[in-house]
């Protein structure tokens, strides 16, 4: 399935008493990949990361790295390093001693440690900061020290536990870019835990979406956004309109469904393969819906609606639309400030049938 199974998590579970924090997770993480674990709090993403680091014993299942099981290996023997959420910079050591800590533990000669530490300080763009103490550093600088301290050991895998969570927005964006650059430069496999989906989408080669201790889907950011595999993933990533639909006809290679608020739509039959009368859940992204003032030119199947409210977001505007036959208002996102009609005016609501996603009703 995967071309290069490097870090392989096979049916791993973690139970704390009767509570299952991680529930039979299987993942194949590839060599040199930037892989993110994305999920809300309590989704089990941090517990999974701590099992990879060796801080939490695995209840069942196995973890193999490069073909060898590391399941029962203590953390100090694993060729895996971690950047902690709070960075865990040793307060009694200066920056250089922090970065050289692991090398000293390995018994590397003094001169070699000094050379590698100086090199790492260059890589994380903190040259000359070697003699500073942890409390003299800003949040972003601490993060770089934590990164340097882990990377200087040339781990096979670098684990990052929400490392950007404590930084303000501008610095976070800057560090995102830097992380990505650094990961490409060193070619080390990164496993990155975050609850911020934008961050995950921006950084990752692939993302594992987690909820309730399970991995719902592991895929590229693009596929997760455009082709979510389940309703839960569709709801978690970005904004989504969920509509009820019913299969009402099937004809030469497609089925016709009646979607609430959008009317009759055609879906590829192979993908649906549903009997007549079967209820479906149809989903569409807000930016895939079009708005036209009533009376303007539009497609023949456009549905009628009414603008309930609008939210100005700078580069985009969001509109809440009440569509005929639809119980909840639909969200429409446009890069401009609207179709040029006031609130409460009637509009045409339309979309391409190809943009409709559908899931089995649960």
């Amino acid at each position: 399935m995967t071309p290069d199974p490097f870090l392989s998590i096979a049916g791993v579970s973690k139970r704390f008493g009767s509570f299952t924090a991680v529930d039979s997770v299987s993942l194949e993480i590839r060599r040199g990949e930037f892989f993110s674990l994305l999920g809300g709090s309590g989704s089990g993403k941090t517990t999974l990361l701590r099992m990879l680091a060796g801080f939490e014993p695995v209840s069942t299942g196995d973890i193999t790295l490069d073909g060898a099981s590391i399941r029962d290996m203590p953390p100090y023997l694993r060729p895996i390093n971690m950047v902690f959420q709070n960075y865990a910079i040793f307060p009694h050591l200066n920056v250089a001693d922090n970065i050289g800590y692991g090398l000293r533990g390995r018994g590397a000669p003094r001169a070699e440690i000094a050379r590698k530490v100086a090199e790492m300080l260059e890589v994380v763009q903190l040259p000359g900061y070697g003699t500073r103490r942890a409390h003299e550093l800003s949040g972003g600088q601490r993060q770089r020290v934590a990164l340097a301290r882990a990377l200087v050991l040339r781990p096979k895998v670098l684990l990052l536990d929400e490392p950007l969570g404590a930084l303000d927005k501008r610095l976070r964006e800057q560090m995102q870019e830097e992380l990505r650059r650094l990961q490409r430069a060193v070619g080390i496999t990164f496993v990155f835990v975050t609850h911020d989906q934008e961050e995950a989408l921006a950084l990752s080669d692939r993302i594992g979406v987690m909820a309730d201790g399970r991995v719902l889907q592991a895929d590229t950011p693009d596929m997760l956004y455009r082709r979510p595999g389940s309703r839960a993933v569709a709801a978690f990533i970005g904004n989504m309109n969920f509509l009820e639909a019913e299969v009402i006809d099937r004809a030469n290679g497609h089925v016709v469904v009646d979607v609430e608020g959008l009317g009759r739509r055609r879906l590829a039959a192979a993908a649906v393969a549903e009997q007549l009368g079967r209820k479906l859940c149809v989903a569409i992204r807000p930016e895939r819906l079009t708005l036209t003032p009533a009376g303007g030119r539009t497609g023949e199947r456009a549905a009628s609606g009414r603008i309930l409210s609008r939210t100005y977001l700078g580069e985009r505007s969001h509109f809440r639309i009440e569509a005929q036959g639809c119980r909840t208002p639909m969200l429409v996102s446009r890069p401009d400030d609207g179709p040029g009609v006031p609130d409460d005016s009637p509009v045409w609501l339309d979309c391409h049938d190809d943009d409709l996603l559908f899931f089995a009703r649960d």
């Binding site: 680091a53 060796g54 801080f55 203590p74 953390p75 100090y76 023997l77 895996i80 390093n81 971690m82 902690f84 959420q85 709070n86 865990a88 040793f90 307060p91 009694h92 800590y101 692991g102 533990g105 390995r106 103490r133 942890a134 409390h135 301290r149 882990a150 050991l153």
Partner: protein, 272 residues
């Protein structure tokens, strides 16, 4: 507009209270050095004249120096042992999920509230049953019980204040548990260790009841002082000795404070 904020603005009644409090607390202590330099052997006003003869008299007392040496030996051993045991206890309490955690802590702290005389009698009965001869070792055992709660109480907040992820980070960087303790845990809790050493040393040094029950012919300093109180003519010498101990205590406390400040200069040592 007021110059200082609501919380920092001076409050006269509180100031008066603070000065009265300090006066009541410390003025009686000042009488000790005062009468130690008085020529009269009676503690009474008016003072008769200035002398250092009582201090000079101390020099010639072999018993005093023996008991001082006994006390120092016991206090050094007890402070090191109780701090070492306290260090392990504090680490275990904060790092492991122990069943009945608060019960264990309460149990360790028990000697703080159980009267020393009860512990002294109990230990004396036990030791004589076991046929252990009384010596400075038995005194040290008694002092260990008294000092352990002080050591744990000093070290526990230090351990609670520092983040477990520091130790995890060390393990993550390839350093084993033993080296992690010496390279990360110990340096971070070091100010607490120094405070504990100083505190337990002081507690053992002036402990009387346990030493009274558990010592044989080797008296500790508090026992020597107590024995001298029976002789009125020796009283000024006792005052002189007390003045010296007072001076040494002040030096110790200032040293402890200075070391504490060294620890406090790293505010992130305790913050996550």
């Amino acid at each position: 507009m007021r110059e200082t904020s609501y919380i920092t603005r001076p409050n006269l009644p509180l100031r008066v209270y603070a000065w009265v409090f300090l006066t009541v607390l410390y003025v009686p202590i000042l009488f000790i050095p005062l009468f130690a330099f008085n020529t009269s052997i009676y503690v009474r006003f008016p003072l008769e004249g200035f002398t250092t003869q009582w201090f000079a008299a101390l020099m010639g007392r072999a018993q005093l120096w023996d008991s001082l040496w006994n006390s120092v030996r016991v206090a050094v051993v007890v402070s090191v042992l109780s701090t070492a045991v306290g260090l392990m206890a504090a680490r275990a309490i904060t790092r492991r999920r122990l069943p009945g955690q608060s019960a264990i802590v309460a149990f360790i702290m028990l000697p703080l509230v159980v009267p020393g005389i009860i512990f002294g009698v109990a230990l004396l009965v036990l030791l004589s049953r076991l046929g252990v001869p009384l010596s400075l070792y038995t005194v040290a055992i008694g002092h260990l019980i008294v000092c352990l709660p002080f050591a744990v109480a000093t070290l526990l907040p230090r351990f609670e204040g520092f983040d477990v992820s520091m130790e995890e980070a060390s393990a993550d960087l390839g350093v084993g548990p033993w080296a992690t303790f010496w390279r990360v845990t110990f340096p971070i809790v070091l100010p607490g260790v120094v405070s504990s050493l100083l505190l337990t040393f002081t507690v053992s040094f002036d402990e009387f009841i346990m030493a009274f029950f558990l010592s044989s012919t080797d008296a500790t300093l508090p026992m020597y002082i107590w024995s001298q109180l029976r002789f009125p003519r020796e009283f000024p010498s006792v005052l002189a000795l007390a003045s010296l101990i007072l001076g040494a205590s002040f030096l110790l406390v200032f040293a402890a404070l200075a070391i504490g400040r060294m620890g406090a200069r790293r505010p992130d040592a305790r913050a996550p």
